[in-house]
Subunit: 411 residues, 2 copies
Amino acid sequence: MLREFGVAPPKKHVVIVGAGFGGLACAKKLRKSAAYSVTLIDRNPYQLFSPLLYQVATASLPEDDIAFPVRTAYREVQFIRAEVTNVDTGAKTLTLSTGKTLSYDDLVLAVGSEGTTFGIPGVAEHTLQMKSVAHARDIRRSLLRTYEAVEDGVLPIESLNVVIVGGGPTGVELAGAVRELQGEIKREFAHIAPQATVTLLEAGPRLLPSFQPSSSEHARKALTKMGVNVRVDAAVTEATSRSLRLKDGEELVAGTRIWAAGVVAPPHWKFLGESDRGNRLKVNPQLQLNDSLWVVGDAANFADAEGKPLPMIAPVAIQQGRHVARQMLRRERNEALEPFKYRDKGQMATIGRRKAVVEVRPWLRFQGTIAWLTWLALHLAYLSGGRNRTSIFADWVWNYFVWTPRRTITE
Amino acid sequence: MLREFGVAPPKKHVVIVGAGFGGLACAKKLRKSAAYSVTLIDRNPYQLFSPLLYQVATASLPEDDIAFPVRTAYREVQFIRAEVTNVDTGAKTLTLSTGKTLSYDDLVLAVGSEGTTFGIPGVAEHTLQMKSVAHARDIRRSLLRTYEAVEDGVLPIESLNVVIVGGGPTGVELAGAVRELQGEIKREFAHIAPQATVTLLEAGPRLLPSFQPSSSEHARKALTKMGVNVRVDAAVTEATSRSLRLKDGEELVAGTRIWAAGVVAPPHWKFLGESDRGNRLKVNPQLQLNDSLWVVGDAANFADAEGKPLPMIAPVAIQQGRHVARQMLRRERNEALEPFKYRDKGQMATIGRRKAVVEVRPWLRFQGTIAWLTWLALHLAYLSGGRNRTSIFADWVWNYFVWTPRRTITE
């Protein structure tokens, strides 16, 4: 189309920090806008599909299956691989770890969350985290190589034990998958493998605290039936190089100690405004700190109608990322900004093969195989790249229906 | 079946060192024998399908796709993860890196080959090898991360250049795949990527020296058309941290320098008998060093009818592994041992997508797309695990027919 009436105005520059669910949702909606040019910054050139990280950690999926290239995701979006070391909100500039400075008209913080140790002694040094590909790789290596070390007499038999701290969806999914992996390894290390145990520790009174009590109970029963030792009211007070200690003094010896007990926003950004205990920045109803600074996803403290902050989950981040993009487009059309409203689509967690709990509404929830098929379909639908979708689908069909030894790993 | 006429004789213990093509072929044939129990030893718990290593190095396949679990491959075979540090052929015992000692009745060396630098200065320190998953990972990381370093001004633009040394099938396949990867990266780093080059160096007068000259010429033309700089009669005399120097003094600056110039058997085993320049042990017509010591595959120097040692390729190793197993079974039946005869099924090399050269017989050879489809079908047929076959097939269909950005890698 010819621009007959004058020159196009210069585009405004939107910088999005973080190529996760929220940042990409925002970039996707803005990318074709005539009013904005978009730059996306992340320390990794891929989006991590973290809901499936536990399958990488338990050797079910290769890590490439859950990492989607962001450089080529949207042709119109410029990608920079870097960390942001500073923000000058007055001058509207960012300093990058590469030494470069970048100016912006709008800045969107979509920086996600990271694991937290709650300051419990030894946790940082002696447990494995569960937030990145590197973490999943470390867990996988520990799970598999411990058998060899025990077989060779390098480690005692108790090293085969696995303790997972945190009864949220990550802990529940991981506990089920680890138990299944232990079952398969029995064929390879028949003389030692049957002694391996999995313990899932939850500091509160029930698993899946954000779910309805009946879902919690279903998860507990299902995991127990699989052979997972589920312990509630079991707060960890210390981690050592061989064990975890509970508040009642009990010591659980385990070669693989996984910490999935909670996440906080990165503390790095707290200087930008008022934050809560989890470092989440308190935003206005439009998800802003000021006119040109927006926060979406795990890093934003946005209260729902009852004043409770929204959960740190992908659907919130995606809806917020889209909302921010929509507001920028409205602003260009001189329309008033709208407050963000979260449309709760429910939550779900899988528990081993062919079992899951799904809650669409408090009164609409289901469990078991149908829930698991729902989980499967929804995760496939959410996965970004067509390529990865094909590959994961092939792997899942194999894992769940053909059911022979899972793919090896090059450890 | 009841053993009505007396007790079963104790089984003889066959130890196979190396879980490659030769070792696994031997184990597979012996595993159900009533006369033998089989132990397989390897430093890795997987068989590496090395013909596809170049696809892992160029980010086409995830590494798990070309590694097959050996622990669970054959239920009747015991697997030990270790290296063999010593052999006492008199006492018939092996010492392992784990400190254990193992006695054997028959020992099969199937230890394969490793890269050789031919003693050229700097090659060991300043080039990337191409024999293991770790090597492929290093190459992949170098190929991809150099673009970021150049973009950030950390490395000069010449660092994008890739030089591959060795015009055999590995070098030819790698050169084509690297060139294709460079083409795809243009979309991600449009401002710098077009300057990246690939040079393939061959010390001799033509590529693919073991093929017919017309195949060599076809490969040279096809690679040149793709944009690979093919240089023959180009012997490397030195490698540095930024370049390779040729015998005529020319210096080729490249950030990724890959050494695929030749392999030798591991020198570790030379003490067992007479070996050739490539450390290959000279075996008798039955592939033996003595009655209880067998050598198969790359580590064996077995001369064909014309006195030329057989090539170091998978089909030779597979046929030799099977032959040795067959001879052990014959011996149990008090039948005379047979000499090994190699059935040459031809050779092939792929050159980028949809192009290959195949030679079944000197007079039966073909090139181009049909050759490539043959290559594809045969490699799929050879791949060991059903699981990996599914997964690779899904990946290949995507790579070759759907043709969008390839899967990312978590670098």
